[in-house]
């Protein structure tokens, strides 16, 4: 197991290298630094000196290959530097944002997980009946609505009309749960359709396996078949989609956070987009990649927990 993890981590190095190469090409080679400096400097018509100063300050004045080496070294050591806009250290911004993101995102994530798996089990239990037919159709409908509508309508309905929760904002501590209600509802509805349908497909596929017939021939009830035999077998494909998402809970959701003004990493990223803050976006891309790789390793490890046939060597 340990050897497997070590090997996976080593295997991640060329991938991280590739990712930082892509970000370098994107952010250094495509956009001329001068252009960047112009748009960043507050003065209307910056003098050449001002531009030079800004470039030096942000390290964009060196030759390309020097910049490349520096870029690589910094990314691999996770030294993200300072924001292009505010000059604040990016690590500091991440530290500030990760708390709210993690709280809101994990609450929504686990609520979503529980609700969708229960619904998928219900739909699979009534497979072939009208419950199944209309349930699946409803899923397609839910899938076809853009998340923006869920955001706007959710806030209007639950926040403004029904007044279940504060419209937007965030306060740390126990209060956070109140502010997480609306994002939770929105996340639930916007992902519900796709998830339930996916889990249903996975479960129905298992229902056709031979071991289900054996279980029935033994006299196991339909509920036993579904909740024990099928569920444990369906866990593998479900885990693939679930465990991979766990590390990203730290990053929060871009749209939801910025819409509900939650001061998390998602909002930070949206602000960076608005301000053309390349340094922050670069850092987030790299962070996201690392979280993805961690997620992939965790997924593999989690397989060993549910499937005795999997051995990590």
């Amino acid at each position: 197991m340990l050897r497997y993890v070590v090997r996976r981590v080593l295997y991640a190095i060329p991938i991280l290298f590739g990712v930082s190469l892509i970000t370098f090409v994107l952010f250094y080679a495509t956009v001329s630094p001068e252009q960047m400096a112009r748009s960043k400097l507050s003065a209307r018509n910056p003098t050449p000196e001002q531009i030079q100063d800004w470039l030096k300050q942000h390290g964009y004045d060196k030759p390309l290959h020097v910049q490349f080496r520096k870029h690589m070294a910094e990314l691999l050591l996770l030294r993200f530097g300072n924001s292009d806009t505010t000059g604040e250290p990016i690590w500091q911004m991440i530290r500030n944002g990760v708390g709210p993101s993690a709280v809101v995102a994990s609450l929504s994530f686990f609520a979503l997980l529980i609700v969708t798996i229960s619904l998928a089990l219900a739909v699979a239990y009534y497979r072939g009946t009208y419950v199944d037919l209309w349930g699946t159709f409803l899923c397609v409908i839910l899938m076809s609505i853009t998340v923006l509508v869920y955001l706007i309508a959710g806030q209007y309905l639950f926040g403004k009309v029904l007044k279940y929760a504060p419209l937007a904002g965030y306060r740390p501590g126990l209060d956070a749960a109140r502010f997480a209600v609306l994002p939770l509802i929105v996340a639930l509805f916007s992902r519900l359709g796709a998830n339930v349908r996916f889990y249903r497909t996975v479960m129905l596929e298992e229902m056709h396996q031979d071991y289900v017939r054996t279980a029935r021939a033994k006299g196991v009830s339909e509920r036993g078949v579904l909740f024990q035999h099928v569920l444990k077998n369906a866990a593998t494909p479900i885990l693939t989609s679930v465990v991979l998402a766990i590390p990203f809970l730290l990053m929060g959701s871009l749209l939801t956070e910025s819409f509900f003004a939650i001061p998390g990493l998602g909002t930070m990223l949206v602000d960076a987009i608005t301000n053309q803050d390349f340094a922050v976006v670069r850092a987030m891309v790299f962070l996201g990649t690392i979280l993805y790789i961690i997620g992939a390793i965790l997924t593999d490890i989690s397989y060993t927990l549910v499937d005795p046939r999997v051995r990590l060597e």
Binding site: R213, R216, K218, S221, K232, P308, R309
Partner: protein, 349 residues
């Protein structure tokens, strides 16, 4: 005559397919007395498995459904049972073993869990008693180190071992009837022998009836009392094993015997039955075997043969079974329309 343990009457199991209705089982009748072994023989795709699954009402839904007939078990029609009543019969009164030992066990649960579940669902709990019984069963089916086996997963076992586990599971509640659907087809020859031996032993010990499904006449000769030969969803011949081996009546049965590799044929080409089993959606209109039958004459393609009783040719008539065949050759009037001299019962094998 006493009521047989299982009496299947005019059983029909159909499938709705894009190509039309597939009549996989189309009017099958037979009965099994307590302690008797009936072999159901036929080529691949002729509906043997579906017959077995229909008895337990495990036909793959929603495509497949039981379209008609009766399945009397101890005098009660199982088709009248509710799903819950049926569940209590499965695994308790009727046990079943499947064709594919490699996939029939649930890969993510231990052998012990699955074996004890078979008892637990019929109200025996999961206590130490159940555990003791599980060990006992595994020992009985000839598996070494049962204690260790309880903690193992199916993928750690060989095919033969898995089939033994399946048998142990089917026997867990002392069923009165065991349905074994080609229990040895997926195994290699030496293991086949052992498994068959085991089934026969267990049958004597437990005193249960066995419905053995196979396409191997060699197996039939070894273990069964009576044989039902199935073709294209129907039973075409029904006889005691002795009678059948002495004098197969239906041309299809004879063809089956002829295509069996035997000692004196070694080195020569194997005779096979010409053609293939037709699609279940489009059985030939009259006699379903007619297109492949060496004895056919025009009547075979126009009039559907009916199942008729036949006098048993044996001297001692101790066996309970009557003899029957579905072929115009034995029809008093239609047989006379045949151009040549009708074939009488000859001994072929």
């Amino acid at each position: 005559m006493t009521e047989p343990l299982l009496r299947v009457e005019d059983l029909r199991t159909y499938f709705d397919t894009p190509a039309g209705t597939a009549r996989a089982v189309d009017g099958v009748s037979f009965s099994i007395a307590p302690g008797e072994t009936l072999a159901l023989v036929g080529e691949s795709g002729c509906g043997k498995s579906m017959t077995a699954l229909s008895i337990l009402q495990l036909v793959p839904e929603p495509a497949g459904y039981i379209a008609g007939g009766h399945v009397y078990f101890q005098g009660v029609d199982l088709l009248d049972y509710t799903w819950e009543e049926m569940r209590r019969v499965r695994g308790a009164d009727i046990g079943m073993i499947f064709q594919e030992p490699m996939t029939s066990l649930n890969p993510v649960f231990t052998i012990g869990w699955q074996l004890m579940e078979a008892m637990a669902v019929h109200g025996k709990g999961r206590g130490p008693d159940t555990r003791r019984r599980a060990v006992e069963l595994l020992t009985r089916v000839g598996l070494p180190e049962p204690e260790r086996l309880l903690r193992q997963y199916p993928h750690e076992l060989s095919g033969g071992m898995r089939q033994r586990v399946m048998i142990a599971m089917a026997l867990a509640n002392n069923p009165k009837l065991l349905i074994a659907d080609e229990p040895t087809t997926a195994l290699d020859v030496t293991v086949q022998k052992q498994i068959l031996e085991l089934i026969r032993e267990l049958q004597q010990d437990f005193g249960m009836a066995v419905l053995l499904i196979t396409h191997d006449l060699g197996i039939v000769a070894e273990v069964s009392d009576t044989v039902a030969v199935m073709y294209a969803g129907q039973i075409v011949e029904y006889a005691t094993t002795r009678d059948l081996f002495r004098a197969p009546a239906h041309p299809y049965t004879r063809a089956l015997f002829a295509s069996r590799p035997s000692r004196d044929q070694r080195g020569r080409d194997l005779i096979t039955i010409e053609g293939i089993v037709p699609q279940a959606t489009a059985w030939p209109p009259a006699c379903r075997f007619a297109p492949r039958c060496p004895e056919r004459w025009p009547a075979c393609e126009n009039v559907a043969p009916v199942y008729q009783k036949l006098a048993s040719p044996g001297e001692d008539q101790t066996g309970p079974a009557e003899r029957g065949v579905r072929c115009h050759l034995y029809h008093p009037e239609l047989a006379r329309t045949r151009p040549e001299q009708p074939a009488t019962l000859e001994v072929h094998p």
